[in-house]
């Protein structure tokens, strides 16, 4: 059974033939579309390394069957920067040393972008920690991660206010 789906990935529309409905969004991105920025950690929805945004919401791409996502809009770590200009969350992760080995970082950053868009945590570190709790960091860089998300949230809110003014 072959299934054809169309996805918009990082702003580019792509039609993909799926020869098997078992393929996850994560494997589609990494194995078929060469978008290897999204990482495979546990592959069981426990670590968050594979976090991407689907229609603006955070999902574990390892638990999403690609066959069910026809028409969806996917944003991965590769789609965040504008040319050489890093996304404010990416810049904040560097400024705050919010990683050590870096394996969980794409998922952390996508999760942070989603969290900030949801507007549910504001710049309260405790709520940021709760909102980021689906993303594990075995190096234990949580302190820097929380600081980075808080700062990125503030700078994005400020930019939003300037734009609105």
């Amino acid at each position: 059974m072959s299934l054809s789906i169309t996805l918009t990935i990082n702003g580019i529309r792509r039609t993909v033939e799926l020869e098997d409905p078992r393929i996850t969004l994560l494997d589609l991105l990494r194995e078929r579309l060469d978008l290897t920025g999204t990482k495979k950690g546990c592959d069981r929805g426990q670590c968050g390394a594979c976090t991407v945004l689907l229609d603006g919401r955070r999902i574990n791409s390892c638990l999403a069957l690609a066959a069910g996502l026809d028409g969806g809009e996917v944003l991965t770590i590769e789609g965040l920067a504008q040319g050489e200009a890093l996304h404010p969350v990416q810049a904040a992760f560097i400024a705050h040393d919010a990683f050590q080995c870096g394996f969980c970082t794409p998922g952390q950053i996508m999760s942070a972008v989603g969290l900030i868009q949801e507007g549910q945590a504001g710049d309260d570190p405790e709520r940021v920690r709760e909102g980021m709790s689906g993303n594990l960091c075995r190096c234990g860089a949580y302190r820097g991660i929380t600081e980075a998300v808080v700062e990125a949230q503030r700078s994005l809110a400020q930019a939003g206010r300037k734009e609105a003014a």
């Binding site: 059974m1 299934l3 098997d20 409905p21 078992r22 996850t24 592959d43 069981r44 929805g45 919401r57 574990n60 638990l63 999403a64 069957l65 066959a67 069910g68 026809d70 028409g71 949801e118 549910q120």
Partner: protein, 79 residues
Amino acid sequence: MNRFDFIRPATMSEAVAAAAVPGSAYLAGGTNLIDLMKGGIVSPKRLVDVSRLPGLDRIEPLPDGGMRIGARAQRRPRL
């Protein structure tokens, strides 16, 4: 993960009819089902994808004073 047929019904009644076939399972967010399938704990023969069926995500008051929470209602509804 076991092999399965993937069904994408367009309406609620199509979904119910498709899932009436023995060995079927509904697929919505997948965070539970796909995990269990990857672990070989469940192995449905067909998945009936209701993740994009309209109407299932509503939370609505009922005339008798109760409330209906759709099977696909989200913990944090989109504003």
